[in-house]
Amino acid sequence: MKRARIAWAGAVHDAIERDGQLELLTPAFKGRRVAADEVVWLPPLAPVPRPRTVLALGLNYADHAKELAFKPPTEPLAFAKGEASLIGHRAFTVRPAGVAFMHYECELAVVIGRTAKHVKRGDAMDFIAGYTVANDYAIRDYLENWYRPNLRVKNRDTCTPIGPWLVDAADLPDPMNLALRTTVNGTVTQSGNTRDMVFDVPTLIEYFTSFMTLQPGDLILTGTPDGVVDCQPGDVVITSIEGVGELHNTITAPTLP
């Protein structure tokens, strides 16, 4: 099942995908179908009773590491983001004024389904609720070599679109063989496959839970392959993953004070 969280008719609703439309789960409207362009799409994540842990991988595709002139890492290179950087499908992301290089990063996002601590690789899939698409934008002008990647590059407001759907893990039996693709204004600029991850999803879960407890709703953004290009205000960026979804985003300029 594909699940969404949307705002429609003055309230937030959980919905599922049905015949290309959204079917509302809210009791008062249960079964009612609304079109994708009638709603505001929120990150497809239920609220959690604690700050959500959002983990993100750097250099987790060998080709992207090469593109950025790095050797593939020997241990996952991870950093954490705040939930405040997340926005939904069909949203706007702000490109700061005066920067030279802002790029998207199409990433398979893993949503944790059960409390996970000291999980072995072979058991890891049992701890996954589902998958969605994340676009982990970076503004490289702000990159500094102190606690890299620094949060000014990676934790900006509006700079982590996620969605549209949370796809149940049961519907995606092999997450390690999915095509990823990004288009900018309809032109394909990035393509890859999750099979080329340096550290695959079960390995990442084993790694993180060797020192931290993950909770339902926590996120792992698993890194991006080769092919990142600069994006300008007005550009429509679609990051898509086979069987998971197409996440639409539009770059916009900052509002002048």
Binding site: G58, Y147, D157
Partner: protein
């Protein structure tokens, strides 16, 4: 003694290189590879929710690792990005020599953010301005190890809030840690299994946690909030815990 419950409702951001002693310790190396110059924006990291160790909790330390304690002050954010409360924290990390790309296992282990019983309203502390003369004290088994004076901040609190707010919005419930100072040799106070560490400052609730050895078991219980089993430091732990029970 049992662990008390307050934990931050939002994301906790930590700050590095924001005390003069730490900055001076690093300054001679800032031009070296891989840093390539002094940091421009505040150097930040996230303390994820798994790190939250409530007041009175026992925190498990991994075997064979050097663990450092840091006394810091957290600002609890209210509406419109303005801090409403302050709190002491013990920001724990595995010791590390590089500030380039440290793995999360250094700072984001379970229990690696010691918390107080509750935050204190800024109004009771003289507002933001009232924090400028604050001194934080770190004690190990009741023995003083370090005093951190907020007059030694590199970016004072209003400047830090402004520079962080330039690129990210702090939401209500988020906590911004203002940084921590090093000892004269550039290290931070070390903790070991059996230790009790207390951080205190006038007008603020103290932070107290005990440290125990991590169990060898792969599937042990979560390492925070277990009942203490006695040992070195437990008398202090119990006396401090009792004050706030």
């Amino acid at each position: 003694m049992t662990a008390h419950g307050w934990v931050p409702p939002g994301t906790v951001y930590g700050t590095l290189l924001n005390f003069r002693g730490e900055y001076a310790h690093w300054q001679p190396r800032m031009g070296d590879k891989p840093y390539g110059g002094a940091p421009k924006a505040p150097v930040l990291y996230v303390k994820t929710a798994n790190t939250f160790a409530p007041h009175g909790a026992s925190v498990a330390l991994p075997a064979g690792e050097v663990v450092e304690a840091s006394a810091s002050l957290g600002l609890l954010i209210g509406e419109h990005g303005a801090p409403t409360h302050a709190l002491l924290v013990n920001d724990l990390s595995l010791a590390h020599e590089s500030y380039y790309r440290p793995p999360m296992k250094f700072r984001n282990r379970d229990g690696f953010l010691g918390l107080p019983l509750e935050p204190t309203p800024l109004a009771a502390l003289g507002g933001i301005g009232g924090l400028a003369a604050l001194e934080l004290e770190l004690r190990l088994h009741g023995v003083h190890q370090q005093t951190t004076a907020l007059k030694d901040l590199v970016r004072d609190i209003p400047t830090l809030l402004k520079d962080v707010g330039e690129f990210m919005t702090l939401r209500p419930g988020d906590v911004l840690l203002i940084g921590s100072e090093v000892l004269t040799d550039g290290t931070r106070p070390r903790v070991a299994a059996g230790d009790a560490v207390e951080i205190s400052a006038p007008g603020l609730k103290p932070v107290l946690q005990r440290f125990v050895a991590e169990e060898a078991s792969d599937a042990g219980p979560p390492p925070v909030a277990r009942a203490p089993s006695g040992g070195r430091g437990s008398a202090l732990a119990q006396s401090v815990g009792a004050r706030f029970s």
